[in-house]
């Protein structure tokens, strides 16, 4: 059975070109990039080439890029760096729909001496900016807002917010893990101070990420050790993966147009056709300001895990915003913050595409999914209640 992979916000396939770029670094180019002799210098050269490619994707200078082990490390590094650089300020603002990398760190900080404000969102996941601006204070050290939401694809106006924040002398960080590679990002004139990205969301392998730190931003390292990354992150670089990330960044730049035309059209087709064929289905998120590859659809009166497992039988991979874990079936914090009603939140499915998806795959999902939904609804006591009024 062919696999139809529509879970690219969870992770992506490593691009063949990326594998090709990485293999020599696992074979002949094994030297430590910090060493002095020729073979090691070749490794260092590749590392710097990768840095330049990642910098190009963001429109920044290579010196502003620090390689890390993942998106979470990049987020943690940025947040701790900003707090340490401003020891007199004890306030941190973020949103209620952040990835756990930021949300759980925020909760940790609120238990450990910081005042933390979580900005609410509306029913489409759009930020409550008035609330946000009202809560900025002289005590605010840092603002961290995600660029694109991983579950719904909703985009926050981070550039606009960053400008307002910067005027007040507050550091602005964005978790752009889902945005990088999917939408054009030009940081040259941006007011954003720090930006986190992750390799495996853009067809590089897992275990590598990067953090952009604007020149002149006060910084203190999170990983303390050797002088690697200009003293900003100790530890020998994961050379092969970093080189893979560099190749992936160049590919992402090449694919940017397709991502925002062909992929967007496929996503729109999937969404439109599913909503046309399946009653009581609705989109979660902001249909206007959204990643081109993501759609999050709720199918009322049935449950997400059941939908995923039945799709798995058809070779279709997606994910759900509802996790039936311990005891209670808990809708995701993102859908809860948006106030999605229980009838819909439990049956939410996220489809996230990539440039490697084809129209035939989308057609297959459009053809197969209505029967899966109908089958589960036939089993659901609530669906019958709705049908009979």
């Amino acid at each position: 059975m062919k696999t139809i992979y529509l879970d690219n916000n969870a992770t992506t396939a490593v691009a063949p070109e990326v594998v090709d770029a990485m293999l020599p670094c696992l074979r002949e180019f094994y030297g430590n990039p910090s060493s002095m002799y020729g073979p090691a210098r070749q490794v260092a050269h590749r590392l710097e080439e990768a840095r330049a490619r990642v910098a190009d994707l963001l429109g920044v200078s290579p010196a502003e890029i620090i390689f890390t082990s993942c998106g979470t490390e990049s987020d943690s590094t940025a947040i701790w760096a900003a707090l340490r650089a401003n020891p007199d300020k004890r306030h941190f603002i973020t949103s209620r729909v952040e990835h756990p990398a930021v949300k759980n760190l925020g909760e940790y900080l609120s238990r450990n001496g910081y005042r933390v404000t979580f900005m609410p969102v509306d029913s489409r996941g759009r930020p409550d900016l008035d609330f946000f601006y009202d809560h900025l204070s002289d005590d605010t050290a840092l603002v961290s807002l995600m660029w694109a939401n991983n579950e719904t694809g909703t985009l926050f106006p981070v550039e606009e917010v960053a400008r307002q924040v910067k005027e007040r002398g507050i550091v602005f960080h964005t978790d752009a893990v889902q945005a990088v590679g999917k939408i054009p990002i030009r940081m040259a004139d941006s007011a954003i101070d720090m930006l986190a990205l992750s390799g495996h969301k853009l067809h590089a392998p897992k275990g590598v990420g990067a953090l952009y730190v604007r020149k002149g931003t006060k910084f203190s390292p999170f990983m303390i050790g050797g002088h690697q990354e200009s003293g900003r992150r100790g530890g020998t670089e994961n050379v092969a993966s970093v080189v893979g990330l560099g190749r992936a960044a160049a590919l992402a730049a090449d694919h940017m147009e397709a991502e925002n035309t062909r992929v967007r059209q496929l996503r729109d087709k999937l969404e439109t056709e599913l909503l046309r064929r399946i009653p009581n289905a609705m989109i979660n998120g902001d249909p206007e300001h959204r990643l081109p590859n993501t759609t999050n659809i709720s199918f009322e009166y049935i449950e997400g895990e059941s939908i995923l497992l039945m799709m798995d039988e058809l070779g279709i991979c997606a994910s759900s915003g509802s996790a039936c874990t311990s005891g209670s079936l808990e809708p995701s914090h993102v859908l809860r913050a948006m106030g999605v009603p229980f009838t819909a939140a439990h049956g939410s499915v996220r489809f996230s595409l990539s440039v490697y998806n084809t129209e035939a795959e989308i057609d297959y999902v459009i053809e197969k999914l209505p029967a899966v939904i109908a089958r589960l609804r036939d089993m659901s006591p609530f669906w019958q209640q709705v049908q009979t009024g």
Partner: protein, 276 residues
């Protein structure tokens, strides 16, 4: 994804006896849309009071559907007396086991069965025995005690996995812990209550209660509360973060903050919000 046995998968993909018996002898419904799973069980008896036909409708995850299907297979041909002996463990065993986090799915089957039999016997669906501990899922102390002894549970997490209690807001975790201690014969050191509360002690207790019992819950929702002053039995507070300006803030103050303070400090306290 969960590791399900082949039998769970098979019953999920090909569930037996889906539907509703229109002229059923017994009907049992449990669960709700809010708590994420629900089961409607209907059965028909033959002339010898044996279960001739049984059908289910389930809203829930794969193991909830498989548990319901397994239950109907277990019930077919059984007398009511035999059916009454079917437990959630029988359902789980029939399926070759369920992940621990999913045991509540089989418990839901057992509960629907009890209700359907009570319905047939014309026993009015009895008021739940005991006192509700978990408000979110309506679980009583009697049910929790039973689960503790039946399944040898030792932690709040276990209790949530099996009967959902404590899986919602979390306000009942402390009471569940007490029930666990009772069941295990443990005793926690009793808190000595001073005969007369001095003002300093009252203030300290108010501060402690705010910090330990109230702030963590509010912070979970992005809010916070600050103690401004204590004047006799008037506790003056100011709401922060998401709480300030929240339309439900007054309810929170009365129903949660004041109740907690009265419970942990003295019952005479009155909480008032002050504007800064």
């Amino acid at each position: 994804m969960w590791e399900y046995t082949d039998k769970v998968k098979e019953h999920f993909l090909n569930p037996r006896n889906v539907g509703v018996i229109e002229d059923a002898d017994g009907v049992g419904e449990v669960g709700s849309l809010a708590c994420g799973d629900a089961l409607k069980l209907t059965f028909k008896l033959d002339e010898n009071e044996r279960i001739k036909d049984v059908k289910f409708q389930t809203f829930g995850c794969a193991s909830a559907i498989a548990s319901s299907s397994a239950l109907t297979e277990l019930l077919k041909g059984k007398s009511l007396a035999e059916a009454e002996q079917v437990t959630n463990d029988d359902i789980a065993n029939y399926l070759g086991g369920l992940p621990r986090e999913k045991m509540h799915c089989s418990v839901m089957g057992q509960e629907a069965l009890e209700k359907a039999i009570a319905c047939y016997r014309g026993v009015p669906v009895e008021e739940k025995e005991g006192e509700i501990v978990c408000e979110c899922f309506g679980v009583t102390d009697v049910e929790i005690r039973r689960a503790l002894t039946d399944h040898h549970l030792a932690t709040v997490e276990d209790v949530t996995n099996f009967i959902k209690a404590g899986g919602g807001c979390g306000n009942c975790h402390e009471r569940i812990e007490k029930l666990i201690d009772e069941a295990l014969g443990r005793e926690r050191a009793p808190v000595p209550k001073p005969r007369k509360m001095t003002n300093i002690r009252k203030l300290r207790l108010i501060e402690e209660t705010l910090e330990r019992e109230i702030q963590p819950a509010l912070k979970k929702d992005g809010g916070d509360i600050e103690l401004v002053d204590v004047d006799g039995n008037r506790v003056l507070v100011s709401l922060r973060g998401a709480c300030s300006g929240c339309s439900a803030a007054q309810v929170t103050l009365r129903e949660f903050v004041e109740k907690k303070l009265r419970e942990f400090v003295v019952p005479e306290l009155v909480v008032e919000e002050v504007c800064e």
